[in-house]
Every structure is written in structure tokens, then in C-alpha cells.
């Protein structure tokens, strides 16, 4: 996952690597995703990875609902 100056730069990068445009988001949405994903303390004995259902629910709460974000 890379950071770009603008959509134009994303499209140029995708063209260079012959890739379709993937999932794009503004910094605020990326920050909310990072807080939701990494905010828990992984030192805690009870910490565990999320299930597929839990990840899909989290993506939905952040507004990531396109097929690109599907885990199935």
C-alpha cells in the first residue's frame, strides 16, 4: 500500500506496473482504518486476529464495501 500525491500519480503508477486501479482512499479514511485495525494492544494475552466476518464488518464500518475489499 503506497501513498501518492494525487489520483493522477496513482493512475500513472498503475500504468507503469500495468495494474488496474485498486482501492483508493483519502488520508482520513486510511487513518480510521489504521486505528480500527491496529489500535488494540497486541501484547495483551487475549489479543487475537479478527475472523473474516469481523474484518468484513470493520471494512463496512469504514465504508470499504466494494468487491475489492471482499475476503471471499
Amino acid at each position: 500500500m503506497l501513498y501518492f500525491r494525487s489520483e493522477e500519480h496513482i493512475d500513472r503508477w498503475c500504468g507503469t506496473w500495468k495494474l488496474d486501479r485498486g482501492g483508493m482512499m483519502a488520508l482520513d479514511q486510511g487513518w480510521r482504518l489504521a486505528v480500527a485495525w491496529f489500535g488494540a494492544d497486541r501484547r495483551a494475552p487475549e489479543w487475537r486476529r479478527r475472523t473474516v466476518d469481523e474484518v468484513e464488518q470493520l471494512f463496512g464500518e469504514i465504508g470499504l464495501t466494494s468487491p475489492f475489499w471482499s475476503l471471499r
Partner: protein, 141 residues
Amino acid sequence: MMNDAEVRAHVYDVTMRGGRPPLIAELDAPAAEIVESLRRLAAGRVLVLQRDSDEILMAAPFSAVATPFVVESGGVEYFGNCIWDALGIPAMLHRDAEIRTSCGDCGTSMTVRVENGVAKGDGLLHFAIPAREWWNDIVFT
């Protein structure tokens, strides 16, 4: 003998305080036991190990090796594996941070500041690989 949860906790504690995931030799247990635990944690997608050494490569969001996503927080320098992970470092630390990176296309310097729970910057994140394929090659992802 540490169980896997204790190894995970120790790895993250060392990393969060010092900036880098520890080497096997820096974990206070027999190397063979540590390697077995690290391999189980990697199989469970909690850690990513370096391909030929069993040393930690990623304890997400942290990288054990230098990357183009430098995160400074609390006087400690960290490396994120990608821009999402770079944002994940202040999210995990619950601290302000400055992320120094560059445009993935043109290499122009870019900075993100996280202050009081708000990320400030003017770039866009781009995820090239669909979510269901992330773990096909997590290093590339």
C-alpha cells in the same frame, strides 16, 4: 519457557519501546524454542519471518528492516511496511507521530503528521492488491 502469546507480547513490547522487532538472539529463551514459536506465529499470520533465517521481517505494523515509510514518535524511529502500517504505528502506540515517506509514483517527499488523534496530510492511499489476495504474497502486498 515462553508460550506463543508470551513471545508475541515480548516481541511487540521490545518493538514498541525500541523501534525494531528483536532478533532471535535478543529473546530470552533457547533459540530452538523461539524459532518454533516464531514459526507458529507466522503460520497464524501474526508475524512474517525473513525467508531464509527465521528472523522477524514484520510484526505488523512494524518492519524489522528499513523501508520508505519512516515513522518518528516519542523520540523513537520506526519503519512501517506500507502507508497503512505507517499509520498503524501511531494508532498502536496511541501517540503523536510524523510519517516521512514519498510519492509512490514520482518520489516527491511527503509527510503525514498525526496529532491528537487526527492525521494531517494531503495525499491518497492506494491498495493495489484486492483484500482476499493480500496473504498470497504479503511482502509484495
